[in-house]
Every structure is written in C-alpha cells, then in structure tokens.
C-alpha cells in the first residue's frame, strides 16, 4: 500500500479500497491519485473542504462514475463497475449528497424504485408497504409510505433517501452528507442505526461538514484536500483541531457576534403574522408571530424541523400568502407586494432547498449569481455585459465559490459551492434585510466562517440579518438575539449570553446528547 500519509494500525480487514484513483473533467482534476480504504464493520469518515473531491471519490466507489485512472479493489480483487446497479448487486450502496428522489412518487415507490418486489399479480405493493413501514419505524420517523415525496419537508426527504439505501441490505454503505437537513434528534436515531449496522458487519463511509457530529460516530478519519489525501488517522489519535488543521491548514474560529456599534432603526417588523397550513390542514404553521429586527442586528431563529421557520421566512419573502398580520419593511407595509418588489426594496431570502428553490440547473454559475439583480445591470432595453461580469466576479470572490469561472455549468460545482452560489445571488442584490434559511447546509467550516464574516460586516454597515438554523452552535457564534420557535410561535427569546442547553430546552428538544 503506497502513498498513505500515516502508517495504518489495521485491525479490521479492508473490504473496499481505491488505489491511485484519479478523475479529471477536462482541465479540472477532481481527484489526483487517491488511496482510500474501507474497513469491515467500521465507520470511515471523509473530511475535506467544498470541492475537495469527496463526492467524486464516493461516486467512483459506488459505480456512478468511472475513474480516469486507478483501480477499485473489492475484497482484494480489482473490479470495474460500469454503473451503480452493478455496484449495488455487489453490495455497495450510496446515499447521494443531492437528493435523487422522484417528487411525484410516493415514499414506498421511491424506496423500491427499480427493484420492485414481484408478486403473483405484478408488484406486491402490500409487502413493499410493510417493509417501508418497518424501515421508517427503525428510523423513528412518522411518515405514511403512501405520501408523495414532494409533500415532505426536506429533512423527511433525506430520511426517505436513507431508508432507500438501508432497504438494499448492502454490506458497504456510503453516506454523502446524510444529515445536512436532519434535526439533532433525527441524527441521534441515524447514529443508532449506524451502530446497529456496524455491529452486523456493515461497513460505512460517512461524509459531513458537521465535524463534532462526525467525530461521535467515526472509527477512522481521512482528510482530502484538492483531490489528494492529506491525512489519515484512527479515531483515538484525532480531535476537532486535527481535522480542521488538515482540512484547511489553519484554524477557524466562527467567532462571536459583531459588536462595537449601535443598532439602527427597526428594519423589519412582523406584526401578528399568521400563516395557515399550506397543505390544507386546519391549523396555523405560523401563529400570530410578532418580531422586530433592527438595522445592524443579527437575529437567529432556532427551532426544530417543522417549527414553522421556513414557512415564516417564505411568507415574509412573498412566496407564501399570510392569512393575517403585517410585514413592515423600514416603516412601510409590504404584505401586498410581489417577491420582485420586495427584493427591489431590499428584502431578500436565501431559500433552504438549493436544488428546488435556489438554482436554475440549465444556466451557468454566472447567470445564477446575477439572476436576482438583473435590474442592476440593465440599461434601457439591454443588459450590460461588463457590469454583469463585474458583479459575477465580485460575488464569486466574496462567497469564495470554487469554480473555473462564471461560464461553468452549475452542475459542475460541488454541493457546498452550489450552496455558496445561492447565498451569493441574494447578497448581490445588496439587501437591507437578508433572511437565510439553513444557509450552512453542506458548506465547509472555512466557507461558513466566510459567510459569517460577510454577514457581520454587512451588519456593521446596517444590514439586518435573520438567520434560521437548527444548529445551536451557529446561533451562538453569530446572533445578537436568539428566538426559539416552537409550533409556529416564539417560545423563548435570549440574548447572546445564553447557553446551548437553555436554547434546546426551550425548543422542546430532549437534551440527551
């Protein structure tokens, strides 16, 4: 075995390995000769910045794409998968970073897509449903197998994706950021499932930008950087600092809320905003919620999945219709305005689901970045190319998108870099109030620090920030004020001196961890 930085105290046998695997897309070298081992019955975690090549390596191991050079060894024998079905038949399955579900199909049909259980009369739907129920029970998720996937919230869709991978009974399970939209409780459950699996001898590869979380579960850590493997160590020898140092070369501190200035006038004021359940239920997802955010203030909205945070933000942005209450921007009522008019007045939303609400897949990186600010570079009838290019270049630099340029296809970016494009697009509109819904989904620690720095700088210049998250740590390092939402209402309000435990208790979450 060559090229591994550290000597390996191998205890468990290697079931799947990559040997000198390289992958190029034209001029872009996503992987440059990587060795990677997966041990039987253990969890191997892959760390690395956005665009380091993690997803690329996993796609190669699971047969989704083929390496430009190098070998895959399964049980010591070289194999060459031509597609993911072949890999699945050999016991390797993958949970993709970007959801790959058919939105119009039910949970059951998605889970058994392409592997329907045959009965005497066509597909045995009853048996499929029984198995799905069992899986979801194991994942402690209350979802009806017959619900169409598009009616589920993002986190639940991710659970379905996980259930689909679990339903295959594979011996090697690759999880590419499986928890990016899950709540803390759901992550706990998933970890329990992972422990059961490893006890049964299943090998797991785990990728996550939630470093502390990954440390809880992993047996081995591997760090990728710019397509090469830079460090390897078993769990006993590493800590958070080790990961960050090897990942980005320096240590990031997400810092504390920006200070040293006074807040301005109230920029955004919500008065008894009420939103009826968009799916037609007879309750309110947002219930008479009132909130003032001042210029320069960073307010964090913390809550569990389903607390009504996304619905609240979408209503303020103009996507959902409120059934009561007022949204006031800089003293002016805006409830009747369209999304475009609200953006023009300086109210912008970074949506949660980047694939569905954030990106136009048919357009380039640059066109996506400039989409919300077209008016800024249109003179008379025509768009000004130079002005647009300047805006694109500036934004790419600001949010540190790793790309070959504004002309690259959006699909060629790594998941985290796509997320940065969604954030950059709305920041480019030069808003006065920016609302971000779970913006750190899938971005690495360096990028997160960069986004926090941008928000902090904006706040100092008078930007009002509303930051919605289900990660307590993020609240504490950016927010002046923390609002806890529970069942559509504000259940508690804290200043930045609060502790994690207090916040979690107020959200109705069990503080087990």
């Amino acid at each position: 075995m060559t090229g591994t930085p550290a000597a390996k105290p191998d205890t468990a046998e290697v079931v799947l390995a990559a040997r000198n695997v390289a992958k190029s897309y034209g001029q872009i070298h996503a992987l440059k000769g990587v060795n990677f081992d997966i041990h039987r019955g253990q969890v191997t975690t892959l760390f690395g910045e956005n665009g380091a090549g993690k997803s690329t390596l996993m796609k190669i191991l699971s047969g989704v794409i083929q390496p430009t050079s190098g070998e895959i060894m399964l049980d010591g024998q070289p194999v060459a998968f031509t597609n993911s079905t072949e890999a699945r038949d050999r016991g390797i399955s993958i949970i993709h970073q970007e959801l790959s579900l058919a939105p119009n199909l039910s949970v059951r049909d998605n889970i058994f897509m392409g592997r329907e259980i045959k009965g005497p009369m066509g597909v045995d739907f009853a048996e499929e449903e029984r198995q799905v129920r069992k899986l979801l029970e194991e994942l402690e998720e209350d979802i009806d197998p017959l619900t169409p996937v598009e009616e589920l919230r993002l986190g639940q869709q991710q659970i379905v994706e996980i259930a689909r991978a679990l339903s295959v009974d594979s011996r090697i399970l690759i999880m590419d950021e499986p928890t990016s939209a899950l709540s803390a409780t759901e992550v706990e459950v998933l970890f329990k499932v992972i422990r059961d699996l490893t006890a049964k001898g299943v090998s797991i590869v785990y990728i996550s930008h939630h470093l502390e979380e990954a440390l809880q579960i992993t047996n081995h850590a591997v760090v990728l950087r710019d397509g090469t493997m830079t460090a390897y160590a078993p769990r006993a020898e590493i800590d958070l600092e080790w990961i960050v140092r090897n990942m980005v070369g320096e240590n990031y501190d997400l810092g504390s809320p920006p200070g040293g200035y006074d807040f301005g006038k109230v920029a955004l004021s919500l008065r008894e905003v009420t939103v009826a359940d968009p799916k037609g239920g007879d309750y309110n997802v947002v219930d008479k919620l009132s909130l003032d955010v001042r210029a320069g203030e960073v307010v964090c909205i913390y809550g569990l999945m389903g607390a009504g945070r996304t619905e609240l933000l979408e209503t303020v942005a103009g996507r959902l219709r409120s059934s009561g209450g007022e949204v006031v921007l800089e003293g002016k009522e805006v409830s009747h305005l369209s999304i475009a008019e609200r953006i023009a007045r300086g109210l912008a939303l970074v949506p949660e689901d980047r694939q569905r609400d954030g990106l136009v897949q048919t357009m380039t990186v640059g066109q996506n970045l400039s989409l919300a600010s077209i008016a800024a570079f249109t003179k008379g009838l025509f768009t000004q190319r130079k002005a647009e290019q300047a805006l694109i270049d500036r934004t790419i630099k600001e949010v540190t998108v790793k790309t070959s340029g504004g002309g690259a296809a959006i699909g060629s970016l790594s998941g985290g870099n796509q997320q940065k494009v969604v954030i950059g697009k709305m920041l480019a509109t030069q808003p006065k109030v920016i609302m971000l819904d779970e913006p750190s989904r899938g971005i690495d620690i360096g990028a997160k620090a960069e986004v926090f720095r941008l928000l902090a700088e904006g706040a100092k210049r008078g930007l009002a920030v509303v930051y919605s998250t289900s990660e307590v740590g993020e609240c504490l390092s950016i927010a002046h004020r923390i609002i806890v939402m529970h069942k559509g209402r504000i259940s508690a309000e804290f200043d930045s001196t609060v502790t994690k435990e207090q916040i979690m208790a107020a959200s109705g979450e069990s503080v087990a961890a």
Binding site: Y25, I65, Q66, A317, R319, S338, I339, A340, R342, I343, A344, L349, P351, R356, D357, G358, L359, V360, Q361, T362, M363, T364, G366, Q367, L371, A372, I374, A375, T378, L381, F382, T383, R385, Q389, G405, G406, G407, A408, K425, T429
Partner: protein
C-alpha cells in the same frame, strides 16, 4: 450576425476559448442542412439556384415564424398546439376584413386599409395567445391541454366564419383604397421576398431579446426552474403570459404571410403546422423540458425541414414519401442529439 457572438460569450464566459465539442453539437442542424443542399443539388440542377433558394426560403418563412414563437413557449417549459389553428383563424379574419365588414345597423360596408387589417389581425392573434397564457398561468391548466382546447376552438371559429369556404380574391380594389395585401407574399426587397425579410427581422429581434434583454434572462430562468426563478424575483406569470401572447401574434403574422402568398384564406390552412414548428425547434437543439434553446438553432431546424420537403418536390418524390422522409429526419436529428449527450453523460 452580431447576436451570435454575444450569445456564445454570454454562455461560455469571455475567458474561455470556443469549444469544438460545442460547435459540433450546435452544428448538428447546420451539417444536416449542408447535407440536404448537397444531395439535392446533385440530384437536380435547378435546386441550387438563387431563384429556387429564395422561393424555398419564402416557404420556410411560414414555419420559421411559427417556430420562433414556439421556441419561446418551449423555452418556458410549455407547448403551444394552437398555432396552426390561430394561423387559419387570423388568415380567415384578415380575408373577411379585406372583403369588407358589413355594419347592418348603419347600412354600410367598411373596407379597412391593409395596414389596419394587419394590425387588427395581429391583435386578434395576440388575444388568443393571451387567452392561452392566462389559462396556463392563472388557472393552472396544463399547457398541452389548454392549447389543445384552443386549437379546436380556433379552428372551429374559422370554419364557422367562412362556412367552410375559402376567401379568394384578397387583392382589394383601388377605388376602395385597400389594395396591397399581396405585397407581403409577392413583393421583394432588394430581390429578397418580403416574407423572408419579415422572418429575418423577427429572428434577429428575438435573438437580441433572448441574449441581451432582461426578459430573455427571465425566460431562460423560469423555464429552467420556475420555483427558483420566482424566489429570485422573476415575474414568472407575466413571462408565461407574454410568451404565449407573442406566439399568438407570430401565428397571426404567419397567417397573413400565407394568405398573401396564396391570395386566398381558407379555414383549413395551417393544419398540423404546429407540429412542424415543434419539430423545427427540437431539431434546433432546444430541450422540451425548457430552459435550453436558441433562435439560431431553431432557424436552422426550420430550414432543414423546409429545404428537405421542397427538395423532395423538385426531384419528383411522391408526397407520401415526403411525409416519411420528413419524419425520419426529425427522429434522426434528435437521435444524434441524445447519442452525443448520452456519451458525454456516461463518460463524465
């Protein structure tokens, strides 16, 4: 053409060199066109003459104008099945106006001048298009169904209007001051048929709109991902209604050109033209799922279809075979497209 270079750099970013793969992909329809011209000029000495090319181009103009409207609708992720019927309806109404509008209450017959006929006809086409758009954007009727319904209604109204007959003499009379309707179909500007000039103008304007105006950007964005475009402040409903309206107006223009070329207007004109227009757009490389496609490609697609069918007529192939050939070319062109994309997809 200046908009060619613009759309290329806008798509690829100014830093990158022109890519050969892209040229081949985009050039697919172009090579097909060259092959068609080469084969037919070999088979018939009359094919590759200036006069024949111009005549064929004036035939292409009809499909071409429809196809540009169809391109806009397809970029939006929709489809407009009503254009053939709208073409007939507008042709018939223009014919009726040329024959005189009787106002029984006043006991007079109005003979509007030709320019007024043209404006009114385009307005009617636009209205029908706006109706399509409103059904789809506001009432959430699927585009296929809404335009299918309007297709039947428009055809029916055209038949009712003429009782199934055809208006023949459309040249107007000097003493009534409404001559000149055949100008569109017969006159030439510097030797080029007016219909071709109209097509070229519409193509250039649309090309500019798509590559340089904010509306063009809105259209590509809302066709690519309507939800994301909406949240970025794109007025997606307005865009939708606008493209169907433009498609209706262009169908009216095509109707005027056609009835002027034939100096007659019948209610069954333009049957299945909507399918030809869709074929031209698809051969031109646009995606039926929306968000991808160019005017340049669509024009090439229209010329491929037009030059092929006229060529078959010239060498004396029966019209039944013409249908077979046209169908084969459509499938072949799109097949090449998916083979090329498919290879790329598997390799990457």
């Amino acid at each position: 053409m200046s908009d060619t270079s613009i759309s290329r750099t806008a798509a690829k970013g100014s830093a990158q060199p022109f890519s050969l793969v892209r040229l081949l992909l985009e050039g697919r329809a172009f090579f097909a066109l060259i092959a068609i011209v080469a084969v037919f000029s070999y088979l018939s000495p009359n094919y590759l003459t200036v006069s024949n090319l111009l005549i064929m181009a004036s035939h292409v103009a009809i499909y071409g104008i429809l196809a540009i409207g169809m391109l806009l609708v397809i970029l939006n992720g929709g489809i407009d099945l009503s254009v053939g019927s709208v073409l007939a309806l507008c042709g018939v109404l223009a014919g009726a106006m040329m024959q005189g509008i009787e106002l029984p209450t006043f006991g007079v017959i109005l003979f509007p001048p030709v320019w007024a006929v043209v404006v009114l006809t385009c307005a009617i086409g636009g209205l029908v298009g706006a109706l399509n758009g409103a059904l789809i954007a506001w009432f959430k009727v699927p585009a296929f169904v809404a335009t299918l319904g309007v297709m039947y209604v428009a055809r029916g109204v055209a038949l009712l209007q003429t009782n199934g007959l055809t208006y023949n003499n459309l040249s107007g009379r000097p003493e009534l001051g409404n001559t000149g309707f055949d100008w569109l179909g017969f006159n030439r500007l510097a030797g080029i048929p007016i219909s071709v000039v109209v097509l070229a103008t519409i193509a250039v304007l649309t090309g500019l709109m798509l590559s340089r105006s904010s509306f063009g950007r809105w259209l590509y964005a809302s066709g690519g991902n309507e939800r994301a475009a909406d949240l970025s402040g794109v007025p997606v409903k307005r865009v939708k209604i606008t493209v169907y309206t433009i498609s209706g107006i262009l169908a009216a223009v095509a109707g005027l050109v056609l009835s002027s070329q034939l100096t007659s207007a019948g209610p069954t004109a333009g049957t299945t033209y909507e399918l030809t227009a869709i074929a031209a757009v698809v051969i031109g490389g646009a995606a039926l799922t929306g968000g991808r496609g160019t005017v340049r490609g669509t024009m090439l697609g229209a010329f491929v279809i037009g030059f092929l069918s006229d060529g078959l007529v010239i060498i004396g192939v029966s019209s039944y075979w013409q249908t077979v050939f046209t169908g084969a070319v459509i499938v072949l062109a799109v097949l090449m497209n998916s083979i090329q994309y498919g290879k790329g997809g598997r390799k990457s």
